[in-house]
């Protein structure tokens, strides 16, 4: 009986570690995209995008003033959806 409990506890701990690793991976991917659209396309990489015209200016300007905000929104909703799914996969939902 005692063995079983400790086994379940161990299993839970193992699954918690797996859950956390998966979460951190999703966060890292999301943050790479977050940085790419704002600091990347919006600021540092803007000269490289200057050839792509958007309404009287270039794509970098659009990313700096609007595009990055739209991507931020998509990222947060993606993360919420993905994590709520992950909670169920690992059985750690509320």
């Amino acid at each position: 009986m005692a063995d079983q409990t400790s086994q379940t506890a161990q299993a839970a701990e193992k699954s918690d570690a797996g859950y956390w690793a998966a979460n951190v991976r999703i966060i890292l991917i999301s943050l790479v995209i977050w940085a790419l659209v704002s600091f990347g396309f919006g600021i540092l990489l803007r000269p490289m995008l200057s050839g792509i015209a958007v309404g009287g200016t270039d794509l970098g300007f659009w990313f700096a003033q609007q595009g990055s905000i739209l991507v931020f929104l998509a990222l947060i909703f993606f993360y919420a959806w993905r994590m709520n799914k992950l909670d169920k996969e690992f059985g750690v939902e509320e």
């Binding site: 600091f39 009287g56 609007q66 990055s68 931020f72």
Partner: protein, 593 residues
């Protein structure tokens, strides 16, 4: 009906609405007063959080800063929205799982140290007070215009209203009042923008009109670039400033957004961890409605203003003083002159007001040759008036102007009152009752809360008279302070096993170094003329004091890790606390202490 009466009607009606809703909502749910948000749908909660978050800086100030600088000030747009990604991914769900009510409580418990809690409270008070200074600047502009008095008088009247509003208190806790404030605020922002976008580009959606074309078929931004360049100003869409500083400033605003206690608190009280994730998304949806419109407001206003001063383009004649005095299209100039935030002077006595960049030698030579003088005759155009003056500049109907006045006040008042409440509860609850005088009576606690509130507003009003910058710039300083002190502590509390001594040393190092850097550039305690450096020529390379928050955050992380490595590891029960915060399973309802 004259404009003054219309403004009064709109502002009065919006206030009656908030108070009415507060009374109606209060009657049914006194017990849920402090737990606003629990049992409220994530969409509703998102709308209320958006109202709480969008302040005078977003509503009154930001579009003006974008209008007069162009692309380089996109930093505000990216910074103040990008922070929500950090908040949603790195903080909100875990703090909800932790299940207490305040940021300083989390820091105190996670770092098992009353000292950590006190340090967190101090960080919170410093950042929030700076934030209120920025709000007071905006309040002064809004009240000055709407009561048709000077900026200073407007600020003093505004301070009294904010104080009364904050003492009335309940307003803050009632989610539905904030929903109403959001509706007023967003209508006030978008309706004039839609009108102006239709006038200029024929597109009813301002965000799309920005990238549309004007009547002649020329893209709006191209036309704007051309006319401002002809007058010697920087091209609107081009990059002029320092790239490193731009990146750093954006990063500071992002981290600061995720470190502001009054926003983070909203996610403590949603029903479930999953809702904390969704709530952050919905909040950003409602914020984005304003933020996608703001760049259009800025660019279109800049075009309208420039064309008012140069009705036939830069190669034509500047507007005459007679036209300004007699043409109703220029009435806005006289009304704004009263506030002291707009000024013009016919310096060369040619009966015309020439608006151009008189620091650009080539343009000056051109203007002299044309006979318009060598000096810019639009002597003062405060950036913070742009959004409020915008509907008047575009000749929109009187009710739109009244609506914008109501919206500006809603934005400034709700945030200022919210921050004052955060400051007073931090002093009375976390500091007095929690640490200094645990036996304080309820009456004493309430009294110290009121005193803290009065002191905070007096300080903010005094400094608001001579603010360290335009509203959005002052607010940016507050974000820098939050970025350097609170965000790193919260993040390390969840993602690392940093110990108590590390966290305290980190927070102190981040706060002190950032505060020093700001004071060196903006004056000690923001008192004018006590600064040793200016942001035009900063101490460290190109790093302006508004951008230093990101560096402060790095210092915080570095000091915390180093000190933590050299001192004892965290106890077993704290390790278990960290493990449990990371997993949603078993999150109960948020508990009071």
């Amino acid at each position: 009906m004259d404009q003054f009466t219309i403004n009064l009607l709109f502002v009065g009606a919006s206030f009656a609405l908030y108070i009415g809703i507060a009374i109606w909502a209060r009657a049914g749910s006194t017990s849920e007063f402090y737990a606003a948000g629990r049992g409220v749908h994530p969409v509703t909660n998102g709308m209320a959080t958006a109202a709480d978050w969008m302040s005078a800086a977003s509503f009154i100030s930001m579009a003006g800063l974008i209008a007069f600088t162009g692309y380089d000030n996109s930093t505000f747009l990216m910074g103040w929205t990008g922070g929500y990604v950090l908040l949603a991914l790195l903080l909100a769900p875990y703090l909800r799982k932790f299940g207490k009510y305040t940021v300083s409580e989390f820091i105190g418990d996670r770092f098992y140290s009353p000292t950590a809690r006190v340090v967190a409270v101090i960080c919170l008070i410093v950042a929030s007070t700076t934030y209120v200074i920025g709000q007071m600047t905006g309040v002064g502009v809004a009240f000055g215009r709407f009561l048709e008095v000077s900026n200073t008088t407007g600020l003093l009247i505004g301070a009294c209203v904010v104080f009364a509003y904050a003492v009335f208190g309940g307003m803050k806790g009632v989610t539905y009042t904030q929903v109403a404030q959001y509706c007023v605020l967003i209508m006030a922002y978008t309706i004039p923008a839609v009108f102006i976008s239709l006038q200029l580009t024929g597109n009813p959606i301002p965000g799309l009109g920005l990238f549309g074309s004007v009547e002649s078929g020329e893209p709006l931004l191209q036309k704007l670039d051309q006319i401002v360049a002809e007058l010697g100003f920087n091209e609107y869409t081009a990059h002029h400033g320092d790239t490193f500083n731009m990146v750093l400033f954006t990063l500071s605003l992002m981290i600061g957004t995720a470190g502001l206690p009054h926003v983070i608190m909203r996610f403590f009280t949603v029903p479930r961890v999953a809702d904390a994730r969704w709530s952050a998304g919905w909040t950003l949806v409602f914020i984005a409605l304003l933020y996608l419109t703001a760049p259009a407001v800025g660019a279109m206003a800049r075009l309208n203003i420039t064309e008012q001063f140069w009705p036939n383009g830069a190669s034509g004649e500047p507007v005459s003083t007679e036209t300004i005095a007699s043409d109703p299209a220029y009435d806005w100039m006289a009304t704004w002159q009263q506030t002291g935030l707009l000024g013009w002077e016919d310096k060369n006595g040619d009966g015309r007001i020439a608006y151009f960049n008189d620091r650009d030698a080539e343009t000056v030579a051109m203007m002299e040759a044309a006979g318009w003088g060598s000096e810019n005759e639009l002597t003062n155009f405060n950036r913070d008036i742009l959004v409020l003056a915008n509907p008047e500049i575009a000749n929109l109907p009187g009710w739109v102007i009244g609506l914008v006045a109501a919206g500006g006040l809603a934005a400034a008042l709700s945030t200022a009152a919210g921050l004052l409440l955060a400051i007073s509860s931090a002093v009375s609850h976390d500091l007095m009752k929690g640490q200094l005088t645990p036996n304080i009576s309820e009456k004493g606690e309430l009294l110290s809360a009121r005193i803290a509130m009065a002191v905070a507003i007096a300080v903010a009003t005094y400094l608001g008279l001579n603010p360290p910058g335009f509203a959005a710039q002052t607010v940016a300083l507050a974000f820098g302070l939050a970025a350097a002190s609170i965000f790193p502590a919260l993040m390390m509390g969840i993602f690392t096993k940093v110990n108590n001594k590390g966290a305290v040393a980190g927070m102190l190092a981040g706060l002190i170094v950032t505060l020093l850097y700001i004071f060196l550039h903006k004056g000690w305690f923001f008192i004018p003329d006590t600064n040793s450096f200016t942001d035009a020529d900063p101490l460290l390379g190109t790093v302006k004091s508004t951008s230093f928050g990101a560096i402060g955050a790095m210092i915080n992380f570095a000091v915390a890790f180093t000190v933590s490595k050299m001192t004892a590891a965290i106890p077993k029960e704290i390790e278990e606390l960290v493990e449990s915060v990371r997993v949603p399973r078993g999150a109960g309802a948020a508990q009071d202490h």
